[in-house]
Symmetry: C3
Subunit: 345 residues, 3 copies
C-alpha cells in the first residue's frame, strides 16, 4: 500500500482519530500478526491482551476503549477495518488489463459476458461460458463446456478442464488445475486399467483456491467445494470429495477421494485425510495430522495417526515419561530382588 | 456419462440383464466405491461381502451368482466392465481438437507424426520428435531433443524439458513438469555451487503422471518411471530415481534422489522416501509413512519413522498403555513403600 | 554429458592423471553419490572412507593421496571439480534461443536489457524491468512492475506476479509461482473476508527455486528469500516469511506465514514449520519434521512434533521398550501378589 498518515486515513474513511502522534501507516494486519507500521483492529474482548503487546502503529477501537497507541474510533471496528481493506485493494486494472487481448483464442461457440479482461494467450474452449466482469490472466485455459459465473478472477497459467462449473466471485491462483482426472484404476493381470473420470468439479460462490492446487473431477458425478471455502497453495482435493462451506484449508494438505467434509472445517498445513471419510462441521484438524477415521462435528484432531487433541497431547507427554518409568521399575525390582534384564540404558 | 437404462446398456454391450427394475445408470465404480446410480462388477469371491451392502444400481456378475440388485451377466465380469469403461470415455476430439493449431510454434527441425492434435500455443523445440496420434493440449511445451512415442496425451501447461524420452500411451496431466533439474549442490566457502543436471527422464509405455507433479532429470544418466506405473497429483520424483513397473503412487508423495523402487509397489498419499533407498517389489507404504531405510519385497510399512506394519500398529497401541503402566507401577510402589516421585498425573 | 576418456578430461583441464586404465567418464557426482562412470573428488579427510568403497570411475585428489581407482591430481580438488562442472553445463543456447521471439508480448512501458532470450509466448507486464542476459523460457509471465536483475534463468510456465523483485542470477524452475496472494482472511458472520495481500516478494542474488513451488507475497511489506538459498520442488513459502542466506530446503516442505528462518539452515523434504516461528542460523530440520516452536541456532530437530534430535531418537527407542516394561511390571506384580488387570497383551 501507499504509506499514509493516520489522520489522512481517518479523513478518507470519515472517522475520528486520537493519538499523541500521527503515525505513518504502511500496512494492515489482524491483531495477532500486526507489526510496525500496521493498522489493526480489536472488536472482541478476548483479543484485548494482544493490544497490550502489539507493535502496531494504530488500532481501530470502539469509542471509549483505552489504548496506548493511536486509535481510529468506530462503533463496529471490524466493519471499519473491512472498509479500509476494500480501499487498499490494488487497482485490478493494473493486473488484469480490461478488454480482450488480440491473442486470446476463443472458440466461436463460447459465450462471453460483458466487461471482461482476457489476457494474452488465454484459450477458451467450445461451448464454454464466461460470466460478466470476469478477469482471466495470461495463459489461462478454460476447457470446453466449462461455465464460469460473474466476477471471477483467474490468475495466469490456471487450467480449468472441460465441463466444470464455477460460481460467482471465484478466485483461482496461478498454476491451479481444476478438473484433472481422479486417480482411479482397476488392477488386472495386465497391470492397472484406467477408470475413465467422467464427472466434473463444481466450485461454488466465493471459493478461493491457491497456487498450484489440484482439484480432481469426479469419476462420475461431482467433486464439490462449498461456498466461501478458502484453500491455500499446493492442496490436493481428490475425486468425488464434497467439501462444505466456509472451510479454511492450509497449504499442502491432501483430501483423498470420496471424503465428505462438513461446513466451517479448518485444516492446518500438510494434513492428510484418508479416502471415504466424513469430517463433521466445525472440526479442526491440526497441521500435519493424519486422519484415518471419521471425525465428529466440532472435534479438534492432532497427530499421526490423529487422535482427539487432548488424547494426542497426553500421548506425546506420556512418551516422555518412559525413561522415568524404567528407572522407577528398576528400583522396585531391586527392592524385590527380582531384577530382570539390565540392558536398558 | 449420459444416463442410460440398464436394459439399453445390456443391448449395447450384447449382454443379458436381470432385475425387478430397469435402473437408470449414471456412473461406474469399483465395488468398494460404488454409490447410487453406479454400475459395478464382482469377479472374485473375496469381494462378495461388498455386494451385500452396496448401494450400487446394478452389478456385473457371472451366470448363476445371486444378487439382490439388478445384474448384467458375463462369464468375465472384469472384462465386461473394461469394455463398458471404454465406451464411456468422453469423445477425445472435444478436448483435443484434431490437427495442428495455427498458433503452435514448431521448430523446423522437429519431427511430427501423423494425426496429431496440437492445441493453441503449443511449443515444440529443436530436434524434438512427436509420435503418431499424440494429443498435446493448449500451452504444452516440449523441449529440444525430447522424444515422445505414439498415442501420448499431454494436458495443458505441461512442461517437458530438453532431451527426455516418453514411451507410448504416456498421459501427463496439467501442469506436470518432466525433466526439471535435480536438487544437487556442493557446499563450499562461497555457498552452494550447483552441480549441473545433465541427465534425462525416461517415462516408459503407459505411464500416467498427475497434475502439477515434478519428475527431475538425472544428474547424469536417467531418472526412470517404469511401464504401466501411475502417479497421482503433486508427487515429487527426485533425480536418478528408478521407479519400477505397475506401481501406484498417491498424491503428494515424495521419492528422494537415487532411490530404486521395485515393481508393483504401492504408496499412499504424502509418503516420504529418503534418498538412496531400495524398496522391493510388491512393497506397500501406507499414507504419510516416512521411510528411512530399505524396504524388503512384499513388506507393508507404516509410521514416521516407518516400521513394518504390525510393529508400527503395536507401537501406537502401546503408547496408549502408558497411563495404565504408571498407575500399576504406583500401586506396586505403594505396596513396597518405595514410592518415588509423585508428580505424575 | 558426452562421454570422454579421463586422459582427454585431464588434457582439457590442464591436469595430470594417473591410473592403470583410462576410463570412460560419463557423469559427475559427489563422493557419497558417485556410481559407475562418474568422476568425483575428495578434498577433506572426513570423506576418505567413501573413497575405499566408491564405484566411481575416477577421482580428483591432492598430489600424493593414494587411490585404488584412476586419479586426476589437483592441489584444490574442490576447485578443480567446480571447473569441471562449469565445462559440462549444456549449451544454454539450445534451451534458451537467443533473441526475442516474435510472439513475446512485451508491454511498451517495460524495460528490457541487452542480450536477452525471451521464448515463445512470454508475457511481460507494464513497468516491468528485465536485466541484461536474462533467459525466459516459453510462456513465462512477468507481472507489472516486477524487476529482475542480470543473468536470471526462468524456465517455462513460471508466473512472477506484479511488483516483485528478483536479484541477479536467480533461477526459477518450470511452473513456479512467485508472488501469489498470502492466505489471509478475517472470520466474520458472513464467512471469511479476504485481507488484501499488497506486499511483494524479494528473491536475492543466486536464489534457485524448484519446479511448481509457491512463494506468497507479503500482506504488506516483503517475503524475502536470502542470497544463495536453494529451494527444491513443490515447496510452499508463506506470506511475510524471511528466509536467510545459503539455506537448502528440500522438496514438499512448507514454511508458514511470518516465520523468520536464519542463514545456512537446511530442511529435509516434507518438513512443516508452523507460523510465526524463528529458526536460528545453521539449524537442521530432518525430513518430515513438524516444527511447532522456535529452534535455536545450530540445533538439529526431528519428529512430529519435533524435538532436538537425540531426544527424538530416544523417544522412538523408548516406544519400543513398552512391551518389555509391561512384562517386567507383571513379574513384579506377581512377586508381590498385587497383580492388577491382566488384559494387556
Amino acid at each position: 500500500m501507499q504509506p499514509v498518515r493516520l489522520s489522512e486515513l481517518a479523513a478518507a474513511l470519515g472517522m475520528e482519530w486520537e493519538g499523541e502522534t500521527d503515525p505513518l501507516i504502511t500496512g494492515v494486519a489482524g491483531i495477532a500478526d500486526a507489526g510496525p507500521g500496521d493498522i489493526t483492529f480489536v472488536s472482541q474482548k478476548g483479543f484485548a491482551h494482544f493490544l497490550e503487546r502489539t507493535r502496531a502503529a494504530a488500532v481501530i477501537l470502539p469509542p471509549g476503549s483505552p489504548s496506548r497507541i493511536p486509535v481510529l474510533r468506530a462503533e463496529d471496528p471490524y466493519g471499519a477495518f473491512a472498509r479500509l481493506l476494500a480501499r487498499l485493494e490494488p487497482c485490478p486494472e493494473r493486473i488484469f488489463t480490461p478488454g480482450i487481448h488480440p491473442t486470446a483464442v476463443v472458440d466461436p461457440s463460447a459465450q462471453l459476458g460483458e466487461r471482461l479482461s482476457l489476457g494474452p494467450y488465454v484459450v477458451i474452449g467450445a461451448g464454454a461460458r464466461v460470466g460478466d466482469r470476469c478477469a482471466l490472466g495470461a495463459h489461462v485455459v478454460v476447457g470446453p463446456d466449462t461455465v464460469m459465473g460473474e466476477d471471477c478472477r483467474i490468475y495466469p497459467h490456471v487450467t480449468i478442464r472441460e465441463g466444470c462449473v464455477l460460481g460467482r466471485r471465484v478466485v483461482l491462483h496461478a498454476g491451479a488445475v481444476i478438473g484433472s482426472d481422479g486417480f482411479g484404476y482397476l488392477p488386472g493381470s495386465a497391470g492397472l486399467s484406467k477408470i475413465p473420470q467422467i464427472g466434473r468439479v463444481v466450485l461454488e460462490d466465493d471459493v478461493e483456491i491457491g497456487a498450484n492446487c489440484c482439484v480432481d473431477r469426479a469419476t462420475s458425478g461431482e467433486t464439490v467445494v462449498g461456498a466461501g471455502t478458502k484453500i491455500d497453495n499446493l492442496v490436493q482435493i481428490g475425486h468425488n470429495v464434497t467439501l462444505g462451506q466456509h472451510c479454511a484449508i492450509s497449504a499442502q494438505t491432501g483430501i483423498s477421494g470420496s471424503c465428505r467434509i462438513g461446513n466451517l472445517v479448518t485444516m492446518g498445513g500438510q494434513v492428510g485425510v484418508a479416502d471415504h471419510l466424513a469430517v463433521g462441521d466445525d472440526a479442526k484438524l491440526a497441521a500435519k495430522s493424519g486422519i484415518y477415521k471419521d471425525v465428529p462435528p466440532g472435534m479438534t484432531m492432532f497427530g499421526y495417526p490423529a487422535f482427539e487433541r487432548t488424547v494426542a497431547f497426553r500421548m506425546v507427554a506420556n512418551m516422555r515419561k518412559i525413561p522415568e518409568l524404567l528407572q522407577r521399575l528398576r528400583r522396585v525390582e531391586q527392592a524385590l530382588g527380582t531384577a530382570g534384564e539390565q540392558r536398558e540404558d
